[in-house]
Symmetry: C2
Subunit: 374 residues, 2 copies
């Protein structure tokens, strides 16, 4: 496969922050690490940095590979690289693993300096606001005063939005994709079922499973299977699997339909890789994010402080973060006479569409990013 437009072999770096961080909950992290990757070069006046914020199960490994024979590139590799829509010839791109994550940044599996044991259940509940605060510390660490853009899909889009609220002077453009200004009750309900599957797994041990040498694999597997249903549209599942049987009906509870094998595979894979405490915290951060809450539920009031220009993108078949939710963001920006472009992309893939290399979608991003001045 031709890889001339890949960022190539990449390596993660770690930034250590020795100063305490007070979280929105009031809890204090005495110190923490953020693991991150960068692609492209920071220009002389440090004006070309683009921060990528990840969603529920994402990581700092956004583009490139870790070795020549690495089969899996970063999760948004189709978007980021030389001459790709997010062009690393122009931009210095930063991927970061969020606080509470399980891919290198400080989280529940990390050592609590006060005890010498894993944080486990004691690791605080982190919020979108906390992530953005820690990401701003990473920007400081890299000497970046202002980001050319913050880009994110889904929960990542909430972080991009929050950047424009918390640090209006520090972000020129926010690309908010397949996102929403808060979760609907239905979305929160799916999160609650996923969390309950994990928490009631006998091997969860109240979140301190590390000490028991087990992981709540059953619960995490159920959570992921459920998640996958909501990432795809009904039509996409129909097109991909429909009612296709593997080899006929056997009147059993085995995986007889292809869709069942797919879900079990995805669940098993995830349960072997991801940390349950991180899953709990990522979904809770999603639940809590609601910038309008302290503005009498008026998003337009909340957005008064925004200075960044926005690109908002939604996908027609996304029933978890529907176009109507993106339009709420657009409306709040227009109410404040801010600069916003909005694209509603016709796509069959549901919420997952934001990760797909759809030509129309990518062209929208390319066109927008081409105009971003650095």
């Amino acid at each position: 496969m031709q890889e001339t437009n890949s960022v190539g072999i990449v390596a993660a770096q770690t930034a250590h922050f020795a100063q305490p961080l007070t979280l929105k909950s009031g809890a204090v992290l005495p110190q923490f690490d953020l693991v991150y990757e960068t692609y492209g070069s920071l220009n002389a006046d440090k004006s070309n940095a683009v921060l990528i914020c990840h969603a529920l199960s994402g990581t700092h490994h956004v583009a490139g590979k870790y070795s020549a024979d690495d089969k899996y590139p970063g999760w948004w590799d189709n978007l980021i690289g030389p001459n790709k829509p997010l062009d690393t010839n122009k931009f210095f791109v930063i991927g970061v693993n969020n606080l509470g994550g399980c891919h290198g940044s400080t989280g529940s599996a990390s050592t609590n300096p006060a005890t010498g044991q894993p944080w486990g259940a004691q690791f605080p509940v982190v919020t979108v606001e906390d992530w953005v605060a820690s990401q701003a510390m990473l920007a400081d660490y890299l000497g970046i005063k202002q980001l050319a853009a913050v880009v994110g899909g889904s929960l990542g889009g909430m972080q991009a939005m929050q950047w424009t609220l918390a640090y209006p002077e520090r972000v020129c453009h926010a690309l908010v994709i397949a996102s929403a200004p808060n979760l609907t009750a239905q979305n929160m309900a799916f999160n609650e079922v996923a969390r309950q599957a994990i928490i009631t797994d006998p091997e969860f041990h109240g979140g301190d499973y590390y000490a028991h040498g087990v992981v709540p694999r059953r619960g995490l597997r159920i959570a992921r299977m459920l998640g996958h249903i909501t990432y795809l549209s009904d039509d996409a599942m129909g097109a991909k699997f429909g009612r296709k049987l593997k080899d006929g009906i056997h009147y059993s509870f085995d995986a007889e339909f292809e869709m069942e094998s797919y879900l079990r595979y995805q669940g098993d894979k995830f349960a072997g890789e991801f940390d349950a405490n991180t899953y709990l915290r990522m979904t809770r951060a999603l639940d809590y994010y609601d910038p309008a809450l302290s503005f009498n539920n008026d998003l337009s009031l909340a957005f008064k402080q925004v200075k960044a220009a926005f690109l908002v993108v939604s996908f027609t078949s996304d029933w978890r973060f529907s176009p109507a939710r993106s339009r709420e963001i657009v409306k709040a920006l227009l109410d404040n006479e801010r600069t916003v472009s909005y694209a509603e992309v016709t796509a069959a893939h549901g919420h997952d569409a934001f990760l797909m290399p759809d030509a129309h979608y990518h062209e929208i991003l390319r066109t927008y990013l081409n105009k971003v001045q650095v």
Copy 2:
């Protein structure tokens, strides 16, 4: 509360079938019981019988109460009674618990005569076709050659449909409500997640938990919580709960949002009452039902044998059994020049709307049933 239009105090009866029943899977039930209730009086020529088929968690207790101080009437009590839309002054109404159920009909918790132990995992996987075959045996038992109508919502609607296919001469009218000619991949996926939550519960013991004196309560609870999300529309959940907090944000994984308390309550309640093996079998019957499958996936071909007249009803906010699925049934009937009325009811309650006493919906049923000749 005025109860002049209640069927009053009712009692369940049991029909024992001593002859073996060969199921669609090839498995043979050597004998079985069906528990049922009746409301109203069978007329002299036995032409006024209406069979009610229940959905996933329904029972034979469709209307009336078991005692004067019984708080909870049957599950479709708002529909059935003297002068109600399904008028027991006119009709003899039969409710029956399906084979494999856990409310009195033979199922996994029943004694396997071959072993003297509960059937457990050995109880066969039953299908919609098997239920209808056993219901026809119950009609024989009651001396009823032809049903004035078969009525069902959701999975119950599938049984009403199947009656018109398996016994075209024995059913005059089929009322198929909030149903579909088969499940979509998304629907089957929700079933699969629910089943996997049950099956991977350590207390499931391969389906033979009775012998261990436990029940897979955690898994059944998760299954029910998930089910509840899909019975309500996103809008209905928004209207009912929205993002309402119980008493503020506590940065915990406790039930902080009202919706979370609701789901946990529903899950706990169900897990204490329902049998997990029944849940597995009900969902599998839903998955398998697909009358077009043996007709080259052509529902119109499958419906050639239908003689009954149909009333098909769907609800605008039902995303689990959408109006489009009901229209497939209508189309297949029209392709065969059968008599069909179709109503798409504007309703906010999602799939659950079929159980609600919506005035417009009930008027549709009343008008249709008034015209049924007995």
